[in-house]
């Protein structure tokens, strides 16, 4: 599917740093990308598309969702469900939605909390609200420059995928490897395992402060079986 590159259409929902990093990387790999925003004419999306070349365009959430064969949710976690409602069930139906957001809650100060966790997650909320979408949770456990280049941090370290649709996870794992150079991908299970990766955020934020950089990731080190 991705071999040879350049023949896929992606919709990237969200116009922030994360969305622009994902969209630019996909364009640089020869793919066609539409960045979706709340409304057509959104300035960051329009400017991004103008700068990113012929394969880049900007539109509404709904237009980007319709355009892409595979979609990325790069909207802030707190606004994700609203953005997906704006995209519309018809535009989303049957598509793979790669959810890379975390449900951060900045209302209580620093460090931020999670809007929900423990018995729920953003990934699960999306899948419940949009049962016709093939949700795959991934990339939410690293800083955005690492999302699009798994080799930015040298050595062995791991990316997680979570989702109910096994074929969708396989397709996303291939995309992670081929486009974003993530060679170690661990399938954590169904979409409820999104809780486990979203609940890594407090550790991520503490380590960011402690290490003075967000250019880190975790590796799962396993004792070999005797």
């Amino acid at each position: 599917m991705i071999e040879g590159g350049g023949d896929m259409k992606f919709g990237v929902l969200g116009t922030g740093m994360v969305g622009r990093a994902i969209a630019s990387k996909l364009v640089s790999r020869g793919h066609h990308v539409m960045m979706g925003a709340r409304a057509r004419g959104n300035i960051p999306a329009t400017e991004w598309a103008a700068a990113a070349g012929n394969n880049a365009r900007a539109g509404s959430f709904s237009e980007a969702a319709s355009f892409g064969d595979i979609l990325f949710n790069c909207v802030h976690g707190a606004h994700t469900l609203e953005a997906l409602e704006a995209a519309g069930h018809d535009a989303l139906r049957g598509k793979i939605l790669i959810d890379i957001a975390n449900p951060m809650d900045y209302s209580q100060g620093d460090p931020p909390l999670l809007l929900y966790c423990n018995d729920d997650s953003l990934g699960e909320r999306i899948q419940r609200a949009f049962p016709e979408v093939r949700v795959v949770k991934t990339l939410n456990t690293v800083g955005f420059p690492s999302m699009v280049d798994g080799t930015r941090i040298p050595g062995e370290h791991d990316m997680f995928v979570c989702g109910n649709d096994v074929a969708a996870k396989a397709e996303v794992s291939l995309l992670l490897r081929e486009e974003f150079r993530w060679s170690n991908v661990i399938d954590l299970g169904n979409i409820s395992s999104a809780r486990a990766t979203e609940m890594l955020m407090p550790l991520f934020l503490r380590l960011w402060k402690t290490l003075g950089t967000f250019d880190f990731n975790i590796q799962v080190v396993v004792k070999p079986k005797a």
Copy 2:
């Protein structure tokens, strides 16, 4: 303090597999250990002490807390505060309490949830309820055989310490290195960072299921500064 070994007194609160693993390791290192239970005459504690030799004894929570210069909380998270109340503020005062429990909630089935997280943690609850105790959260992120031997899992991987008392964290980090062979210890910050390590539990449990073993740990891999 620990160099040469065998000259310290520890109180281990809790008689389960975790408590016995910690207590046995400390005795094997030549230290004096009292295992504390709800009441004197507790069978697992008495049997452990009988088997573990001259440096091992059993008592109540209060007796074990009074006995030890350094204490380990190995009581289930849901019962920890109650056990510490039973130990008593006087017996705990001024001591280092190494909290290795997680506030697991098995009431909703499998996988278990956390009794509290996000804006609170067991480590913080202990420190709030017992301000006269020097709480250090650590060891709660690995399986119990690894707690007492950081080299059980080969290669580089990390242990976290959290707590308000910098000197207590330094003493515990030394103890982790000298007695339990943990060479990589990351100080995550004050006791509120216990949230970050307790919230690793969902990932730990998912990985346990996925990998088929709990003999694993995580390594924080950092991109070297340019």
